[in-house]
């Protein structure tokens, strides 16, 4: 600090000259409006400054205390996904013209970001088969919460929101936080304990003219594919409610997009499309809807629209639009308080989808279907192990249950000892499933790695869970 700091370009000489030119005696004078009694009269109790080399040492030290793996030995999903990130994605998204810009308030000088976000909206709309996708929410959890609030805003006097009992528990917690102050009653719909599918009878008994929206996940948190989508859609719409669908975006190369079964609002977790898991954030809340003015005008978040120059010769260009929905204009009457979003992850997703194209999306959807089903099938060959323990058709994630007195904890520890990592334990959130674990298998898991997983689980189970 004695010789200045690379982030602080104003020198002592500059300081004197600048103060003189504005008629101030000292730097202290600029802070004279802060009441003396509140001034901090000591130094902050935090570390002193460090050179960049020292910063890298400290960061490396912390990094050394983490055990992350990129070799396919981790089988965790549950809301974020371990997927391969093409080198071209990293190469482009790291460009500082994208990284160090802010929201494109001056469109003429920000066409790069605006066109890219328009492309993100457009690519995502094709994938989901809806018309409109906003330029991002914080994550899928808050996207769900905002979707619920949106249905209640539109469906005046409707204040209930129904969700499947098999919902992602973390998404449910965030939904609950957002729903409570808006007096939205969130209710769970029963499921079939063998297939996991939503109980249509229970849905029918709960849905009425006080229900604003009904949420389904596809595939569900527990990995099974919800096949009754057309029937659910009909029941929901007959009652005048909105259907909100939360989907795994990478499944959409092989699975029906939510727009094709009448979803009014669609959400998803976009981290999977080219962004690292990064210990849970930043993530990308994907949020879209049908082109229905009732919906679009109540949407939260930023939207980029196509337009042209005001004068001839006309050139195509892009601007932020429908801003009167937003907080900086509408204040307390805004559709949401969101301002900063996850734009850079939307850029990432746009690049990822452009690289993969329809063929790549199909390939990855199939690869995940093959690999996850292979893992389930192989695990099931172990006596006392059932996979999938719920659901007939699964994609990417599936529940594996250990019987004969073997605990999830024993399997988890057995895998850790073999430098592998199993899925999350479901014993607390879904006790009805028994000693169950949620495994996630993606394109990064080779046959050899899956076989190794199965071998290790087999050893643990054979020992009766003992070490």
């Amino acid at each position: 600090m004695e010789s200045g700091h690379p982030y602080l370009p104003i020198t002592k000489e500059d300081e004197e000259e600048m103060l003189k030119s504005i008629g101030r005696e000292s730097l202290e004078e600029l802070f004279s409006t802060i009441p003396e009694k509140f001034r901090l009269k000591r130094e902050l109790k935090i570390p002193d400054s460090h050179s960049e080399l020292e910063v890298t040492r400290r960061i490396q030290e912390l990094a050394g205390r983490n055990q992350s793996r990129e070799d396919g030995r981790i089988f965790l999903g549950s809301g974020v996904g371990l997927h391969y990130i093409p080198a071209a994605v990293r190469a482009i998204v790291g460009r500082s013209e994208f990284v160090t810009a802010y929201t494109s308030y001056q469109p003429e000088i920000s066409q790069g970001m605006l066109q890219t976000l328009f492309e993100y909206q457009s690519l995502m709309a094709e994938l989901l088969n809806v018309d409109v996708v906003n330029s991002s929410m914080y994550d899928m959890a808050s996207a769900l919460a905002e979707a619920a609030r949106m249905t209640v805003r539109i469906g005046a006097r409707r204040s209930r929101f129904l969700v499947p009992s098999t919902i992602n528990p973390m998404h449910f917690r965030v939904l609950s936080t957002y729903a409570e102050p808006a007096a939205i009653e969130v209710q769970k719909v029963e499921y079939d304990h063998a297939t996991g599918l939503m109980s249509i009878a229970d849905l029918r008994s709960k849905v009425d003219d006080t229900v604003a929206g009904v949420y389904i996940e596809n595939p569900s948190y527990l990995g099974f594919i919800e096949t009754q989508v057309d029937e659910i859609s009909k029941v929901v719409h007959d009652a005048g409610a909105f259907l909100v669908a939360g989907v795994d975006l990478l499944s959409l190369g092989v699975m029906r997009p939510p727009g094709s079964y009448g979803a009014d609002i669609v959400i998803g977790e976009g981290q999977e499309l080219g962004s690292p898991v990064s210990y849970g954030g930043p993530l990308l809340g994907v949020f879209g809807c049908r082109m229905d003015r009732r919906l679009v005008y109540q949407m939260p978040g930023r939207l980029v629209g196509m337009t042209r120059t005001t004068t001839e010769p006309y050139e195509r260009g892009f601007v932020l639009t429908l801003s009167p929905r937003e907080q900086h204009i509408r204040r307390e009457k805004a559709t949401s308080n969101i301002c900063s979003n996850e734009a850079l992850l939307a850029v990432t997703a746009a690049i990822y989808l452009s690289l993969l194209g329809p063929a790549g999306l199909k390939q990855i959807g199939e690869a995940i279907a093959y690999r996850s089903n292979y893992a389930a099938k192989e695990l099931s060959t172990i006596p006392g192990v059932l996979a999938p323990a719920i659901g007939r058709a699964v994609w990417k994630e599936f529940v594996v249950r250990f019987e004969k007195g073997v605990s999830v904890k024993a399997v988890h520890d057995g895998l850790l000892a073999h430098h592998m990592h199993g899925g999350v334990s479901l014993t607390k959130e879904f006790p009805a499933l028994g000693e169950a674990m949620l495994l996630s298998v993606t394109e990064v898991h080779t046959k050899a790695m899956i076989d190794d997983l199965v071998k290790t689980v087999r050893e643990t189970v054979t020992r009766g869970g003992r070490r």
Binding site: L44, E97, P257, P358
Partner: protein
């Protein structure tokens, strides 16, 4: 006539005739290839048709473009060149604190040990991440003068919602007056996120006017505060760039009425190491790590909005909390029965937290204070010199020092030349700098909110002031040159009315194709 001094031919933004990615598509072209599925797997599980139930199979592939890897790279590289950014030039966008985003922080966040760490891994395998988060919480508590911090909110507005929900939980659990206290007091100069966040948390917003000096009108506050008051949300320094001198009185009025005091940290870059919200009487504070603590804005996000609270509110913070155990190891604690719950799927924007950690570690206690000092110096330097340019003035308490930003009014310029703040902003784009924030705060007519930050050198500040001088000269001599700006950006003025009109509203490629088809029919 335009003189040589206002010749802007030296600067021009890159411009490519780059179509939409969909218009680059060639059927059959491939941009990325995945490993094929091993035969052993296929033999075991059978055909793909047997795996995805027929009624759920996608028949029509998504209409995504088909492009080679190089074409994708070229497309987005070209687009990036048509985007202004901090790394290209001065970005004095008021309230957004567009400071330098240190390069080493990008390196840190990309390390596989952090980037590839799954959030649900066994905590024994994530000790480095948890230690960083715990330490960052300690530092942010000390810097703000609070007792506990949550890192979970993903942005400033998200932090506001979290903080207001904590206040609400306090009234629910402690005072038992949650139903009665249904009003949030918010000054008229506040950021739009304040009233929006309060409304999301279920509050009625009561607007407190500013007085003639640009401060909270304490008489108005007195008459508004009462048994219905849940709290006051305040930005200090305020959005005019002035320090609310009467903060002690303001805090007293709110606390005496039984409300809590919320600090909007959007303008915190002015005062780090000088004065702490906790010492000024605030109960809840949010920080914008993407402003004060240098993390990049990413074209709109991700940000990060940690919330700090006083001890009596700590039990209401979101779960999980990062805890340090007796043996020195770190863990996640979900067992807080009176917590507001969760506001994010996991623990917040970890990658952003790590960058902020590296920034604080690099600058340290003296560097952070020096950053605030020079941010304030730079803003005062700009405010003083720009307000002396013909057409511009510095409304509200002209002789009081500004803090980290100054709000200049172009009211006179508009009256005398017809050139409005918006035109000034557009013309600045031609001169190689980004425009200030315009028309905010709403209480200043023709507002231009300039926040240079500490990252700009004197040379760059002088260039910014000179650019404003040029625009003023042009406004008086050749206003058409200004009102028709920008001239040297990738696009000329864009039609925002057309973008929003129901007949021309186009929010996606498929909507564009539908419009084209409609036009073809007509």
């Amino acid at each position: 006539m335009v003189t040589q001094a206002i010749d802007d031919s030296k600067t021009h933004q890159a411009k490519w005739d780059e179509p939409l990615i969909f218009e680059r598509s060639t059927p059959g072209m491939v941009g990325h290839m995945l490993p094929s599925v091993e035969d052993g797997i296929r033999k075991t599980v059978g055909s793909i048709e047997s795996l995805v139930p027929e009624q759920m199979r996608r028949i029509q592939p998504p209409k995504l473009p088909e492009i080679s890897e190089l074409q994708v790279i070229r497309h987005f590289t070209r687009l990036s060149q048509m985007n202004f950014a901090v790394n290209l030039g001065t970005y004095p966008l008021g309230s957004c604190t567009m400071k330098y985003n240190p390069a080493v922080n990008e390196w840190a966040a990309a390390l596989p040990a952090f980037a590839s760490l799954h959030p649900l891994q066994d905590v024994s395998t994530a000790q480095g991440s948890l230690e960083m988060m715990w330490e960052l919480e300690q530092w942010l508590s000390e810097i703000t003068g609070m007792d506990s911090v949550t890192l979970q909110p993903a942005a400033g507005a998200h932090g506001e919602l979290t903080g207001v929900l904590v206040m609400r939980q306090y009234h629910k659990c402690v005072t038992g007056e949650c139903t009665q206290r249904n009003e949030m007091l918010i000054p008229d100069a506040a950021h739009g996120t304040n009233p929006a966040s309060a409304a999301m948390a279920g509050y009625e917003v009561v607007v407190i006017p500013s007085n003639k000096e640009g401060f909270v009108d304490t008489d108005a506050l007195k008459s508004a505060a009462g048994p219905h008051t849940a709290g006051l949300m305040l930005t200090n320094p305020n959005t005019i760039g002035l320090f609310e001198k009467n903060i002690e009185e303001i805090g007293g009025i709110v606390h005496d009425a039984g409300g809590l005091l919320y600090y909007d940290g959007a303008n915190f870059n002015a005062i780090v190491g000088m004065v702490r919200p906790g010492d000024m009487g605030f109960d809840v504070v949010h920080m914008n790590l993407h402003k004060t603590f240098s993390t990049p804005h990413g074209g709109g996000g991700p940000g990060s909005g940690p919330v700090g609270v006083k001890q009596n509110l700590a039990e209401f913070l979101p779960v999980p909390r990062v805890v340090k155990k007796r043996d020195g190891s770190f863990d996640l604690d979900y067992d807080l029965p009176r917590s507001i719950g969760k506001v994010h799927g996991f623990y917040g924007n970890f990658g952003i937290l790590l960058r902020a950690y590296a920034y604080i570690y690099a600058l340290g206690r003296r560097g952070l204070k020096r950053a605030s000092e020079t941010a304030v110096l730079n803003a005062n330097y700009c405010g003083y010199h720009v307000s002396r340019i013909p057409g511009f003035s510095l409304p509200y308490s002209r002789d009081d020092p500004r803090m980290h930003e100054c709000v200049v009014s172009a009211e006179d310029l508009k009256a005398n030349t017809g050139v409005a703040a918006m035109n000034v902003a557009k013309r600045l784009l031609d001169l190689g700098v980004h425009a200030p924030t315009i028309y905010f705060p709403l209480i200043v007519p023709e507002a231009l909110m300039i926040e240079p930050t500490e990252s700009e050198s004197k040379q760059e500040l002088d260039a910014l002031i000179e650019a404003m001088q040029r625009v003023s000269r042009e406004a008086f001599q050749d206003p058409e040159r200004v009102t028709s700006a920008p001239h040297s950006t990738a696009r000329r003025r864009l039609d925002e009315y057309r973008a929003a009109h129901p007949k021309t509203l186009t929010l996606s490629w498929r909507m564009h194709l539908e419009r084209q088809a409609e036009e073809g029919e007509n």
